[in-house]
Amino acid sequence: MSLRGIVKRFPEVVANDHVDFEARAGEIHALLGENGAGKSTLSNIITGLYRPDEGEIEVRGRPVQFHAPRDALAAGIFMVHQHFRLVTSFTVAENVVLGHHQASGQPLLVDPRRVERTVAALSQRYRMPVKVRARIWQLSAGEQQRVEILKALQRGARILILDEPTALLTPQESTSLFETLRLMAGEGRTVIFISHKLEEVMAVSDRVTILRRGRSVGTVSTRDTSPRQLARLMVGREVVFPPRAQDHAVARTPVMEISSLSAQSAIETPALRQVDLSVNAGEIVGVAGVAGNGQRELAEAITGVRPSSGGSVTVAGRRLRSSSPRQAIAVGIAHIPEDRLGTGVAPGLAIWENLVLKSYRQPPLSVAGLLRRGLARRRAGELISRFRIAGTPETAARLLSGGNLQKVVLARELSSPLRVLIAASPTRGLDVAATESVRGMLLDAARSGVAILLISEDLDEILALSDRIAVLYEGRIVGVLDRDHAQVEEIGLMMAGTGRATEHA
């Protein structure tokens, strides 16, 4: 397939500016770019969701025009989205044939046996083990992704697009996904792999096309390139991730002590089981784990957003009440929540309002029940320039990009007097430049003595920043490792629940 001179304009931005892209049969082609570089727009054009304003698309040498996603499906193009499009109460087999069962010759009824046989055969052939009769909600993220890929294969996809497929996977699951992808490419299918993670692009792809600010800046063969060169192409300059300062001594005084903390999930099943952990002043403790193993509950139980069902959190000698965000804020726990838009900020409100979200109730911002808006706006102006947020105090938060939104959250959390910082996936979805600056801020905070709990599904990030690494599996801490002794393989096994037994349980 090839795309030439694709232009897609939106009222405020040109999302794709004369993008050229070409992927051959039988190759894994990575599409690399920062957030907002135009990857999503391009994949939406390829899958027929958007129509380009200019440019041509050819599939197998023939020019095509997609008016709707079904046209792209008919041309054999299939996409696996980051957020799976599965019916959670249906079985694996049912999902695989969903929307396609007419083609199996039975317009109304689905023969479950036959469908299950087909799906099982496919899953064996591509080495993607799934339980065909299991319902989707019973499966892990990795298994759900396999179902999505099976769906594509069942429909005879010739071109498969995967949008950040490893975001929810353990290192082992990623490796086995890569094997499957190679198998598919080996049969002459085209795999387009969208990512902003350099390591995995290097590991899996044959060629890489880099997008920057809506333009294609080049296509290189993976064999002839290096992560360094890719990063430069992607950002347009050299990137330096601040190395973790080895010299700065971590104090031995625990600031936050968590003991046998338990909490329930939103559907009232145990999600956090008897977690013990302490974080010292100036220390970054990373919490690794596959998404959905209690990370969210851990962050929320500490910060009081979620009631705990047992155990305690003690900060600077004060034992916190369960379920009191107000008290947690008062003792100096800052919180960068996983869900930025909607929890970290109120999206409809202005930047200045979001910057005073936690400090509005104390003087000098509040006097006799009245809010001093002038003062709040002036302060917002200062923070906006200090943290280089692109916007004015009056800009509504929902209009900000992910990176700027995160800067608003950080500006608010770091400008308050804080002892402890709970950072949940602080760089998820951010581009390289924004990631660099967020990590820099976390390191600065640690250097100034803040105890940081870094909860992240990005293992590279945890390894790059943490002094100690705790692994969370099914709500339990299954091990705590010193950074110097941590190995990716071991952490990966622990994340999958097969690592060394816990001494905490």
């Binding site: 939106f10 009222p11 405020e12 304003d53 910060t303 957003v305 109120a346 809010l371 808006r373």
Partner: protein, 369 residues
């Protein structure tokens, strides 16, 4: 072909469609549309004494609309202004009856306070239910309207309550409430020939207070955050559930004040039939929506709709059935609300061949409400 609705980029002048459509109906039923429309305007606003009559309807509308708007701003859906108004009337008339011997200003002050408190207590019920049991306040506040309606009917018709007049034989056979002392009648102010009810002035004051609370206070800030994102509010340490109860009580108090004004300004008795017939609580929701929840716009819209209703009373007669009045009023409301949507959105026909420009980003074009 696809029919789509998108946000408009610019606001066109909205042309009232209600008048021509209404004219067609008038012609079909054998009435002169021009004369009818002129009569409508005169009776509502321009004839001598018309504004005074209009304000009689506008006063409760203003307060129930504020009750809806104050809660809606926080995404708390108070549909219970109707019942809160009844309870306000119960509270105010009770205070008026009990304190009949006191000097007028004291009775009136007591009636205002009692009306607000009774409405606030009634309004707080759905708030507490939502905070404690996560019930849906739309359902509970709506259901409580019926409870409140039956309650006031019970007070006058089905019991020998404190509110019922049992002093004469006729009153025992034909149930009615105790009339208040003359001193308990709320004052009216003459402004260029318009009689302004005291309740209307209180309503304007209340509108200003609602606006001040929303914009300048800590509580108003919390209301905005909770309305926009309850998760963010909780995360920021706001006591979301308490605030929901507070705002429901506040809304109930506003509607309760409307009920007090019904008794003190106009009826001087607890009259279950009359007060239930008007449906001020529900009309108040329409007023609040048309005013886009802006407290000052609520004043204007309440007067406009009050005028419409007032003109309706004087239009209807042997040659002009009440149903036709209702039809005309309904048309005006329908097109005003429809036009409100068209001001913000536009409808486009899109053929399969022409590549449509991308829709305006919804977020940017919102005028804010």
């Amino acid at each position: 072909m696809s029919l789509r609705i998108e946000r408009r980029l610019s606001i066109p002048g909205w042309l009232p469609v209600a008048v021509p459509v209404g004219s067609v109906i008038l012609v079909l039923t054998g009435h002169d549309p021009v004369a009818t429309d002129r009569r409508l305007l005169e009776r509502g606003f321009f004839a001598s004494g018309a504004i005074s009559g209009t304000l009689v309807t506008a006063t409760p509308l203003l307060l129930t609309a504020l009750a809806a708007a104050a809660a809606f701003r926080m995404q708390v859906w108070n549909i219970g202004a109707e019942g809160q108004l009844y309870l306000g009337a119960v509270g105010a008339s009770g205070a008026g009856i009990a304190l009949h011997a006191l000097p007028g200003p004291l009775i009136i002050a007591a009636m205002v306070v009692a009306g607000i408190l009774a409405g606030a207590a009634w309004g707080a019920i759905p708030g507490i239910l939502r905070a404690a049991f996560r019930t849906n306040e739309i359902i509970t506040s709506l259901m409580l309207n019926y409870v409140a309606g039956l309650f006031i009917t019970y007070l006058i018709y089905d019991s020998h309550s404190y509110w019922r007049d049992l002093s004469t034989f006729t009153a025992r056979v034909f149930p009615q409430g105790k009339y208040l002392a003359d001193a308990a009648s709320w004052p009216r102010f003459d402004l260029l020939g318009m009689m302004i009810p005291f309740g209307f002035l209180l309503g304007i004051l209340a509108a200003a207070l609602v606006w001040l609370t929303a914009t300048a206070t800590r509580f108003g800030f919390e209301m905005r955050v909770i309305g926009d994102s309850p998760n963010a509010a909780r995360y920021a340490g706001m006591r979301v559930r308490r605030r929901i109860v507070t705002v429901m009580a506040m809304a109930g108090g506003l509607a309760g004040l409307g009920g007090a004004s019904e008794v003190g300004d106009f009826r001087h008795v607890l009259d279950p039939r009359g007060i239930q017939q008007a449906g001020f609580g529900y009309a108040g929701i329409v007023v609040a929506a048309l005013a886009r929840l802006n407290p000052f716009a609520v004043i204007v819209v309440a007067v406009l709709l009050g005028g419409l209703a007032n003109a309706g009373y004087s239009l209807q007669g042997p040659d002009f059935p009440a149903g036709l009045v209702g039809t005309l009023q309904g048309l005006i409301l329908f097109f005003a609300l429809g036009g409100e949507m068209l001001v913000r959105y536009r409808i486009r026909w899109r053929g399969p061949q022409t590549a449509a420009p991308a829709p305006a980003p919804v977020a940017v074009a919102e005028a804010g409400s």
